[in-house]
Symmetry: C2
Subunit: 160 residues, 2 copies
DNA sequence: GCCTATTTAATTGTGTACAATTAAATTTGG
DNA sequence: CCAAATTTAATTGTACACAATTAAATAGGC
């Protein structure tokens, strides 16, 4: 029989004993929430023929295209090992083109095809559909987003 | 030349025109933050010989073991397609055992080996090391965690 | 100019993720 | 009891994700 040493008055601050409990890990909360949100997108993206990471790449390209693989990687926090095959699939689907930059043959410019640009109109409904499923006030969503972006900014600037 | 229709007074609420901008997506903020945090764990987990998802599985087992593959899957939000190979690697590393349940041969019980249980002591330093890198007040971390857990709870209960 | 260092994508190998299927064991309805 | 439905893991196939390496192109120092 064990004696509870301190019936914590602040449930948000984990007791020393269960620092490793899954429920006390911010990292796991992030991991699980990210996975759940990604899964929620799947049925909405399927009609467009896109996976979730492909959707993110298209978002980046709808904002600005053409872009180099490197620029896309910086926007999405992904490296060429992930992007190269992903972009080849988008190319096979007819949404983007990949062409060596004539000025600098190391670079590959990723551009939208007409079909890729046209897809933006169909995608326009997705954020609203998802916000509806999340069922959270828009204000709270914006606040959570800002908190996460601040966290990401801090971590990026801190690469030891 | 375009005319700005409404110089938004609330920068957190995106204008209609850029609903699809990457910076306005909660999903991408989650995705990017989750990836960055996972990457921050990597150097800390390498001395233990664990990947980040393997670490999550060990966290779940340190909390309660033995557990069935299904119970682990529910705790981690992962299915057998992901867990089976991951657990086989943990078994090969000598941290867990996988044995068919005699009472119900459909189940596989995952238990900790002495080495697996002993690993918990080494892992105990990790949360503090990471909290230090995040450089956020413990209170804010707890608040963000609670927000994400509430979001996850809502999404889980809403599977259409 | 020339040699070296850097930059940029692609490739290779390992490890998640997940949908769909399979196969075996258990539960349930009649 | 017994056939059908359900449960549980494993398997298969596709798609990320990243470290490490490779290869080609460019930039910089001398």
């Amino acid at each position: 029989m064990t004696i509870k040493t301190a019936p914590s008055k602040t449930p948000a601050a984990p007791a020393a004993g269960d620092l490793l409990a899954l429920d006390n890990q911010l990292c796991f909360a992030l991991y699980a929430a990210s996975g759940l949100v990604t899964r929620a997108y799947r049925p909405l993206l399927e009609p467009l023929g896109l996976t979730y990471p492909q959707y993110l790449a298209m978002l980046a390209l709808w904002e600005q295209a053409p872009r180099t693989v490197k620029a896309l990687g910086q926007a999405l926090d992904l490296d060429s090992g992930t992007l190269t095959p992903l972009l080849k699939r988008l190319e096979a689907a007819g949404y983007v083109t990949r062409t060596r930059d004539a000025d600098d043959e190391r670079r590959v410019q990723v551009a939208l095809t007409p079909a890729g640009a046209a897809l933006k109109a169909k995608a326009a409904e997705i954020p609203a559909a998802l916000a509806c499923r999340l069922d959270i006030p828009a204000q709270d969503i914006a606040a959570l987003r800002a908190t996460l972006q601040a966290l990401a900014r801090r971590m990026r600037s801190e690469q030891t």
